[in-house]
C-alpha cells in the first residue's frame, strides 16, 4: 500500500504541476488574479512529492522486497542507516529525490517570496512547474521507483559496498539540494525575462536563493571530495572525473552568479549577463544529472549505461535550456543596462571575477566533453585528465585568487582612493612565503609554489575589509564575505602543501617490518581477521612513531558478500600539521602484505577551507535574512555578497 500511495502522490503532483503551468499561461495572457491559487498549488505539489519520497524511505527502511527497487538495491542484513540512505543510492530513488527537492523549492518560493512583483512570481512559478512536469514524466514513464515485483524475492541484491558509508547519508542530499536549489534562480530569470521586469528588485529576490543553493553545493562538493579521499583509498581529493566536473560546473556558474546578482541587486547593472548566468547555472545542474544518469562518460560515478533514459533526459535538457536560451535571444534586446560605472570600481572587479570564473567553467566543460567531440569527428579515442585541468585551470584560479584580495576593497561606481596601497602588507606576506618556499624547498614545482604564495597573500588580504572599522559594527554580509574569501586562502594552502610535500611509500611488508614515510616510521605488527554486520575483513595493525609516543592505525580490506566486492578501508590519523594515511592491500605468497602509506602535510586545510567558504555563505545569508526582517531602509542594504 505504501508504494502505491507514493506513486499516487507522484501522479497527483504531476497533475498539479500541469495545472500550475496552465494558471501561469492564463495569468500572463489576461490580468486574472491567480497568484494566491498558484502559491497554494505549488505548496500542495511540494507536500505531495514529500509524501512520495517519504513512502520510498519507508519501503527501504522496512526492506519491502516486493518493491523492485528495494530488491535490486537493498538487503535485509544491512545496517539500518544504509537501508534508509540506500533509498537514494540508486537511479530511481535519486531521481525521486531530485524531483522532491525541485517541487519543495517551488513550494518555498511560492510561500516565502515577498520581494518579486506578482507577475514575475507567477511566471517564475509557471517555469518551476514546467521544469517539474518534465521530471515527473521522466520518473513516471521511464524510472518508476515504486514498481512491484511479483513474486517478491526472498532476499535483495544488496547495495554497492562503496556506498555503505556515512558519506552516502549526507553527500548526495546536500549536493542535490544545491544542484536543484539553483532551479529557483533559473525560474526567476525565466519569469523576469517573460515579464520584462529585470531590475534590482529581482536581483534582491534572487540573491538569497542563489546564496542558499551555493552554500549547499559548496558543502556537498567538499563532503564528496573528503568521502572519495578516504573511501576509495587512492589518497587523492579531486580526480577531475567527469562526474566531479559535473558538480564543479554548476558551482562555478553559481559562484559567478552569486557575485553578478549582487551587482544587479545593488546597482541594477549587468542585467542580461545575470539572467544568462542564472539560466546557465541550473542548466549545468541538468547537464550534470544527464552525464551521471545516462552513463555517457566513463566515470567512477556513472552507475549504468542506459541510452533510453539518457535520451529522455537529453530531450528534457534540450527543451528547458533551449527554451530559456531562446527566450533570452528574444527578450535580451529589450534589456536596458542599468547604472553606469567607471573602470576602477567594485562593478568592474565583479565583472572580472565573472569573466575568470566563466573561462574556468568553459575550460572544465570543454575538458569534460572534449573526448566526445574528438571521437565524433575523428574516431580517435582519448581521455582528458588532471594534467590538462591543472595546467589550464590552475593558473587562472591563481589569478582569480589574487584578485579576490582586491575586489572587496573597491567602492561601488568609482574608486578614487589608492586601493593598491592597502595591499602592501598582504603582498609582503606573500613575498615572504615565496622566499621561504624557495629557501626550504628549492625543487618544488611552480604551481604549488605559487599556490602557497597566493594563499599567504590572500589570507591577509581577505580580512582587509574588516580592518580600520569596528568589526562588531560591520554588517554580517561583510563578515560572511571575509570568512568565505579567507576559506579560499585556507583551501589553496592545503592544495599547495599537499601537492608539494606529500610523501608516499608503497611496499610489501611482513609483520615486524618497519617502513619510513615522511617523518614517520611505521611498523606492521600483525594482520588479523575481523567481522562486521555484513562483511568480513583482514585488519592490519600498524604502529607509527615520529619522535613522540607511538600511535596505532588499523587499515582493513573488507570483503562484502551482498554483492560480493572488496573495499579498502583506509586508516587515517589526523594531526595539526597533516594526515597519516594508510591502506593495506593483498597478501603475497611469502607472507608479506602490500602496504601503501602517505604522509600528507596540511591536507585537511583543503576541506577546512571548503567548510569556511560555505560558512561564510551561511553568515552572509543570515545577515541578509535578518536584516530584511528588521526592515532596514534601502540604502543600508547595499553591501557585499
Amino acid at each position: 500500500m505504501i508504494a502505491e500511495t507514493g506513486l499516487a502522490a507522484l501522479w497527483l503532483a504531476a497533475g498539479l504541476a500541469l495545472f500550475q503551468l496552465a494558471l501561469m499561461v492564463l495569468a500572463l495572457r489576461s490580468e486574472i488574479a491567480v497568484a494566491r491559487a498558484m502559491r497554494a498549488v505549488a505548496a500542495v505539489q511540494g507536500v505531495l512529492t514529500l509524501i512520495a519520497f517519504g513512502a520510498l524511505l519507508i519501503v527501504f527502511a522496512r526492506t519491502d522486497l516486493s518493491v523492485a527497487l528495494v530488491a535490486e538495491n537493498s538487503h535485509s542484513a544491512k545496517p539500518f542507516i544504509y537501508k534508509v540512505a540506500g533509498a537514494w543510492g540508486n537511479h530511481e530513488g535519486s531521481m525521486l529525490m531530485w524531483v522532491t527537492i525541485l517541487a519543495a523549492a517551488g513550494a518555498f518560493l511560492a510561500l516565502l517570496s515577498r520581494r518579486t512583483s506578482e507577475r514575475t512570481l507567477i511566471a517564475a512559478l509557471g517555469a518551476q512547474a514546467a521544469l517539474a512536469l518534465g521530471f515527473y514524466a521522466f520518473l513516471l514513464i521511464a524510472s518508476n521507483p515504486f514498481a512491484r515485483l511479483d513474486p517478491a524475492p526472498l532476499e535483495g541484491a544488496g547495495l554497492n559496498p562503496l556506498l555503505q558509508d556515512p558519506g552516502l547519508a549526507f553527500h548526495p542530499p546536500t549536493l542535490y539540494l544545491g544542484y536543484v536549489g539553483l532551479s529557483i534562480a533559473f525560474s526567476l530569470a525565466v519569469g523576469a525575462l517573460l515579464t520584462g521586469e529585470v531590475d534590482s528588485r529581482l536581483g534582491r529576490a534572487m540573491r538569497p536563493w542563489v546564496l542558499a543553493a551555493w552554500i549547499l553545493l559548496t558543502l556537498g562538493i567538499t563532503a564528496g571530495s573528503y568521502w572519495a579521499y578516504y573511501e576509495l583509498g587512492w589518497g587523492g581529493y579531486w580526480f577531475w572525473d567527469p562526474v566531479e566536473n559535473a558538480s564543479l560546473m554548476p558551482w562555478l556558474a553559481g559562484t559567478a552568479l552569486l557575485h553578478s546578482v549582487t551587482v544587479l541587486a545593488t546597482r541594477g547593472a549587468l542585467k542580461a549577463w545575470t539572467m544568462m548566468l542564472a539560466v546557465i547555472a541550473f542548466s549545468m545542474s541538468m547537464v550534470g544529472t544527464f552525464l551521471v544518469r545516462s552513463g555517457i562518460l566513463t566515470s567512477v560515478h556513472a552507475f549504468a549505461i542506459d541510452p533510453e533514459r539518457g535520451t529522455f533526459l537529453l530531450v528534457l535538457l534540450g527543451i528547458y535550456v533551449g527554451a530559456a536560451f531562446a527566450l533570452f535571444a528574444w527578450r535580451g534586446a529589450s534589456l536596458k543596462e542599468g547604472a553606469p560605472f567607471e573602470l576602477v570600481s567594485r562593478e568592474t572587479g565583479l565583472v572580472i571575477n565573472n569573466l575568470l570564473l566563466s573561462v574556468v567553467l568553459g575550460i572544465v566543460f570543454l575538458g569534460t566533453l572534449y573526448p566526445l567531440f574528438v571521437e565524433a569527428l575523428s574516431g580517435e579515442k582519448l581521455s582528458v585528465g588532471a594534467p590538462y585541468f591543472n595546467a589550464v585551470a590552475g593558473p587562472l584560479a591563481l589569478i582569480l585568487a589574487l584578485l579576490v584580495g582586491v575586489g572587496p576593497l573597491l567602492a561601488w561606481r568609482r574608486e578614487r582612493r589608492p586601493v593598491l596601497a592597502k595591499l602592501k602588507v598582504p603582498a609582503l606576506i606573500g613575498a615572504t612565503a615565496l622566499a621561504i618556499t624557495i629557501i626550504l624547498a628549492p625543487a618544488m614545482p611552480i604551481l604549488p609554489r605559487l599556490g602557497l604564495t597566493v594563499a599567504a597573500y590572500l589570507a591577509a588580504a581577505s580580512i582587509l575589509p574588516l580592518v580600520g572599522r569596528n568589526p562588531s559594527r560591520a554588517p554580517l554580509a561583510t563578515w560572511g564575505m571575509v570568512v568565505a574569501h579567507f576559506g579560499i586562502a585556507v583551501a589553496l594552502a592545503g592544495m599547495g602543501a599537499n601537492a608539494a610535500f606529500t610523501s608516499e611509500r608503497l611496499a610489501v611488508a611482513k609483520p615486524g617490518d618497519t617502513l619510513g614515510v615522511g617523518p614517520w616510521l611505521v611498523q606492521l605488527q600483525q594482520v588479523t581477521p575481523m567481522a562486521g554486520k555484513n562483511w568480513t575483513a583482514m585488519e592490519g595493525e600498524l604502529i607509527a612513531t615520529r619522535g613522540s609516543g607511538p600511535i596505532t592505525l588499523k587499515p582493513q580490506t573488507r570483503y562484502f558478500t551482498n554483492p560480493p566486492m572488496e573495499t579498502n578501508e583506509a586508516a587515517i590519523q589526523t594531526f595539526w600539521n597533516g594526515q597519516l594515511y594508510t591502506v593495506i592491500g593483498k597478501p603475497d605468497a611469502s607472507g608479506g602484505w602490500q602496504l601503501r602509506l602517505w604522509w600528507k602535510p596540511f591536507v585537511t586545510l583543503i576541506w577546512l577551507g571548503g567548510a569556511l567558504i560555505a560558512l561564510g555563505g551561511a553568515i552572509a545569508l543570515l545577515g541578509r535574512l535578518w536584516r530584511r526582517r528588521r526592515g532596514e531602509p534601502e540604502w543600508r542594504r547595499k553591501g557585499y555578497a
Binding site: 544568462m276 533570452f328 534586446a333
Partner: protein, 175 residues
C-alpha cells in the same frame, strides 16, 4: 546587445546536443581491441601449465591448420561456462590451445577435471606477459589463428553457445 551574442548560446547548445545525441546513439566501446589482428602471432614460448600436457609456443600455432587460442584462468568465473562451450567446439574438430593466466597447476587440474578439458596444449603465463603481448586485456579472450600463425580474429569475453556458428565460420575462413 547584438543579435549574434543573443543567439550564440542557442547555437552552442545545439552543437553540444548534437554531440551528445551522437554519443547516445553509439555507446562507448570500452573493449581494448588487439592491434595484432591480421598480423603474425608474436614469438613466445610458454612452459607447460600442467605436468600432463605440453606447453605452448608460437611455432605450435603455424601448423597449416587453424587454431583457437583461448586465454583463460581457473580463477575466472565466466571461464567455467565458456570451457563447456569450448568442449562442444572440440567435438566438432576445432583445435583449441589454452593460455592459463596467473594460474596454479593444482587449481588448473581441478578446474579441468570439474568442467571438462578441451585443450590440446596449455601454456602457463604466470606474469601475463604473453597475454599482454597478444593484446588481450582480460580473461576470457580467444584468438582465431590461421595455419600460417596469423591472428584472424579476436573474441573479447566468453564464447557463449550462441557464438559457436560464428566461431566455426571464422575458423573456416582462416583455412
Amino acid at each position: 546587445m547584438s543579435r549574434v551574442i543573443r543567439f550564440a548560446p542557442l547555437a552552442l547548445l545545439a552543437l553540444v546536443i548534437v554531440a551528445l545525441v551522437w554519443r547516445l546513439a553509439r555507446p562507448v566501446d570500452t573493449n581494448v581491441h588487439s592491434t595484432l589482428e591480421g598480423k603474425e602471432v608474436p614469438a613466445f614460448a610458454l612452459p607447460a601449465a600442467l605436468p600432463t600436457k605440453p606447453g605452448l609456443n608460437a611455432a605450435d600455432l603455424a601448423t597449416g591448420k587453424p587454431h583457437l587460442v583461448n586465454v583463460f584462468a581457473s580463477w575466472c568465473v565466466p571461464c567455467i561456462t565458456e570451457v563447456k562451450v569450448l568442449g562442444e567446439l572440440k567435438s566438432r574438430g576445432v583445435l583449441i590451445d589454452g593460455i592459463a593466466v596467473r594460474d596454479r597447476p593444482e587449481d588448473l587440474a581441478e578446474f579441468l577435471a570439474r568442467n571438462g578439458d578441451p585443450y590440446e596444449r596449455i601454456g602457463g603465463d604466470a606474469q601475463s606477459r604473453v597475454q599482454i603481448s597478444l593484446g588481450s586485456s582480460g580473461v576470457p579472450e580467444s584468438f582465431v589463428v590461421d595455419g600460417e600463425g596469423v591472428i584472424r580474429y579476436q573474441h573479447i569475453g566468453p564464447i557463449e553457445a550462441g557464438d559457436v556458428p560464428m566461431i566455426l565460420a571464422r575458423l573456416e575462413q582462416a583455412k
